[in-house]
């Protein structure tokens, strides 16, 4: 059957339940020779590795973890498609390795039994045999191999034990070409499978078409018929077969599990010996604390505070370091280049653009280190278990909690973390509301406006500061709106029942640092590659808007004006003042300012003048840019930060063009804060959404709905505030 012995690559697919050490085996097989990406059109991770024995090249595909080949999610559909040889961008696997956890073999054998029905060359890799032995579980690999009629290789993937034997076995089965075919169902069902198979492949040339027939007959989710494509004749045959089975009393949803587990029970009776008395395991003892009514909640809060602290506080020195280095680089490179548009493009456009991308790296790295460790040790499932009740009230599941919590630090890692949610609709809703969580980039905006416009008075005898309360309200607004949006989306656009929460709680184990670091690096690289380019492009566009037009006459005018005036101060102060005035004058006549002036009528009901409007437009790539842009527009230089007194004073004294009415007052500042709490002014978040939702549709939707909410929020706050303050 297999003719490709030397010249062509042999494709090996790894399939297995989640938590079986499949990825560890993948790393052990392919070492450093691997690349990850996405399957086209879906955001299912595609991992391909390579290894070589003598002259023969092997390609290893790590399929998404799945409990069953009856697909219910995009991940499981991909696994099935690859195994059937119907995924166009990967070759049909020559050998399938089914990875199973020896500790939990009974349930793992369900998938094994499906894979052996496939009509392909299959090897069972029995992982974690050492742990099983320690738990007193004896698996008779030979008996198992004999009964399943496939080779069984015991391995310990984390210690690289049995990997060579597995490679040898792969070579051996390639040569022998042994194909397994199962006969798992009652005769009546098998006959109907044959009927459907006749309709798919009458000639019988593809050995996998009988398995496809089985899947079509048994799957109620409709995902398998999508693999085949629209075919009315075939659908008719399948429906007729299903009807005949239903008429004779077969429960179609149950028949597969009942038939397979019946065979598995016989099999395990012969091949597995468990201790007769169930001993208290380490997991029992840990769970007694971690899922306890009181201690479980305490530990959960401690873990969440640690994550929050890490992405919020620990990342700050790293981010400051990056910020400083980017600034230093811009200065240094700027020093080499002659003054002019090119220097500004390189320093203010390109270097600052790259800087705005890599500034997020510390938060992404830290969060993913945490997530990888928590997932690997088994706590992630417990966290979802603890939070499910709360999250199900707004139509989500416990799995959405960590991505949403992370979004308080930064929505980018939060959105990337939604990959741990297996239900697509659930994942999408979580991604759509994650940017509403007040991230750390909003802080500079809040700090500036609160310090300038909210009185520093205490409430309740000074126990609560009014400024702190306003800051806290901004966070509350984000959470409340996110909850309402999640609920609304579930009721309207993404209608559906609350997704099921039938989830394995895996055994606790010591997490692998190597796997965690690998995972962390993959996420960071994915972010830099995909999101980086888009962010970079947008940064350049916004730079151009704020730089052009740039007539040299303006600089001359400012210099002449200063030369004519009697300047009090040192030569350095004079230089600085001229520089500030020049940048401000340039920005005030730039395309950006023209945009600001054009939209002023739209934002006037929010109390904004064209300068605020321009600053908000300029902050489309990143919210915190608004502070610096306000600084330039109000003529205090671009080196201002949120704590700058001069900027505060300038904002306080800013007036509408041609009048002495103040632009900034308390209602307007509160409205502006609410605007920034609710808006989607972050190109990085939108770029990562393009990647994670597989298109532009949902990011555009998010931008539109969040901007609309932000506008309405700011409008209500300003108008109501003005009425109250008279």
């Amino acid at each position: 059957m297999l003719t490709n012995q030397t010249d062509t690559e042999i494709t090996v697919a790894l399939v297995g339940n989640p938590n079986t050490g499949k990825s560890t085996l993948f790393n052990a097989l392919s070492g450093q020779n691997q690349r990850t990406g996405n399957y086209p059109g879906v955001t299912v991770e595609k991992k391909i590795g390579h290894y070589k024995i003598e002259d023969q090249q092997f390609q290893v595909i790590d399929l998404p973890g799945t409990y069953s080949l009856g697909p219910k999610s995009p991940d499981e559909t991909i696994a099935l498609k690859v195994l059937l040889g119907r995924q166009s961008d990967v070759p049909e696997p020559d050998v399938i390795i089914c990875v199973a956890d020896a500790n939990n073999l009974e349930r793992n054998l369900f998938l094994v039994s499906q894979v052996t029905d496939l009509g392909a060359t299959v090897i069972l890799a029995l992982n974690m045999v050492d742990v099983a032995t320690r738990n007193g579980i004896q698996v008779d690999a030979e008996r198992l191999a004999e009964r399943l009629d496939i080779p069984v290789v015991p391995i310990q993937a984390n210690k690289k034990v049995g990997i060579e034997q597995l490679k040898t076995e792969i070579n051996r089965v390639i040569t022998s070409g042994a194909v397994s075919t199962g006969h798992s169902f009652p005769e009546q069902v098998e006959q109907e499978i044959d009927t459907v198979k006749q309709a798919i492949d009458p000639v019988g040339c593809n050995p996998r078409s009988r398995f496809l027939a089985q899947r079509l007959l048994l799957d109620g989710s409709g995902m398998v018929s999508k693999i085949v494509g629209p075919n009315a004749a075939l659908e008719g045959v399948v429906n007729a077969s299903r009807q005949r089975l239903a008429d004779s009393g077969v429960q179609l949803a149950a028949i597969e599990s009942m038939s397979r587990y019946r065979i598995i029970s016989e099999l395990t009776e012969q091949a597995i010996r468990r201790p007769t008395e169930r001993a208290t395991t380490l997991t029992d003892r840990i769970d007694r604390v971690l899922t306890n009514r009181i201690w479980g909640v305490v530990v959960f809060i401690v873990v969440m505070v640690a994550i929050f602290q890490a992405i919020f506080v620990w990342s700050v020195p790293l981010m400051d370091g990056i910020d400083g280095s980017v600034g230093w680089l811009a200065d240094t490179v700027g020093g080499w280049l002659p003054e002019g548009a090119f220097r500004s493009l390189v320093t203010d456009g390109m270097i600052a653009g790259v800087g705005s991308v890599i500034i997020f790296l510390p938060q992404i790295l830290i969060l993913f280190l945490f997530i990888a460790l928590l997932e690997d040790c088994g706590y992630m499932a417990r966290a979802a278990y603890l939070m499910d009740k709360m999250m199900s009230r707004i139509g989500l599941s416990g799995k959405s909690f960590i991505p949403l919590l992370s979004s308080f630090g930064c929505a980018i890692p939060g959105i990337m973390a939604t990959r741990t949610i297996d239900n697509w609709r659930d994942r999408l809703i979580t991604m759509l509301v994650a940017p509403l969580m007040s991230c750390s980039a909003r802080l500079p905006v809040y700090i500036l406006l609160i310090a300038a416009f909210v009185p520093a008075t205490g409430l309740l005898n000074g126990w609560i500061s009014l400024q702190g309360l306003v800051m806290f309200s901004m966070y509350v607004i984000g959470v409340v709106v996110a909850m309402a949006m999640a609920w609304l989306l579930r009721m309207t656009l993404l209608k559906g029942d609350t997704p099921p929460f039938v989830m394995e709680l895996p055994e606790y184990k010591i997490p692998s640092i190597v796997n965690a670091l690998k995972r962390m690096w993959e996420q960071a690289a994915a972010f830099l590659k995909r999101a980086g380019t888009l962010i970079f492009a947008v940064s350049i566009v916004v730079w151009a808007l704020s730089y052009f037009p740039h007539p040299a006459s303006i600089e001359q005018q400012v210099q002449d004006r200063y030369a004519a005036m009697d300047f009090q101060g040192t030569a350095e102060e004079f230089e600085a003042a001229v520089y500030r005035d020049t940048s401000s004058t340039y920005l005030q006549q730039s395309y950006l300012a023209r945009v600001g002036k054009t939209i002023e009528p739209v934002v006037r009901p929010l109390g904004w003048d064209w300068k605020v409007a321009s600053a908000v437009v300029a902050s489309f790539p990143a919210r915190e840019v608004v502070v610096g842009t306000l600084g330039v527009l109000y003529n205090v230089g671009d080196e201002v930060d949120a704590e700058s007194d001069t900027l505060r004073d300038r904002l306080k004294s800013a007036t509408w063009d041609g009048s002495d009415r103040k632009v900034f007052n308390l209602p307007m500042a509160l409205g502006l804060m609410v605007f920034f709490a609710l808006c989607a002014q972050c190109i990085s978040t939108l770029a990562i959404m393009v990647r994670e939702t597989g298109g532009y549709r949902w990011p555009i939707f998010t931008f539109v709905y969040m901007t609309a909410l932000a506008y309405v929020g700011a409008l209500v706050v300003y108008q109501v505030g003005m009425r109250i303050s008279g």
């Binding site: 109620g220 179609l252 149950a254 009942m258 603890l386 099921p500």
Partner: protein
């Protein structure tokens, strides 16, 4: 009697899983099939979901999902 009515610490045998949709299939695929024995290990702090042991591993499911599983409790 259904699975959601068994108190933590209780055990029994599954007699049937009702329904015809993907949820029922998932519960069955995870090994909760007629004839298999189970033990209820506990509930989450807010009372839902529940955690059971079945076929030698731990499974959590919501009470609404457990209500699809008809069981016979051990005395």
């Amino acid at each position: 009697m259904t699975l959601d009515q068994i108190e933590p610490g209780g055990s029994g045998t599954v007699t049937a899983v009702s329904g015809e949709d993907a949820l029922t299939t998932r519960i069955l695929e995870m090994g909760v099939t007629p004839g298999c024995s189970f033990a209820v290990l506990g509930t989450a702090p807010l009372g839902d979901p529940i955690e059971i042991e079945v076929r030698g591993y731990r499974l959590s499911l919501r009470k609404s999902e457990a209500a699809l599983v008809t069981v016979e409790a051990n005395k």
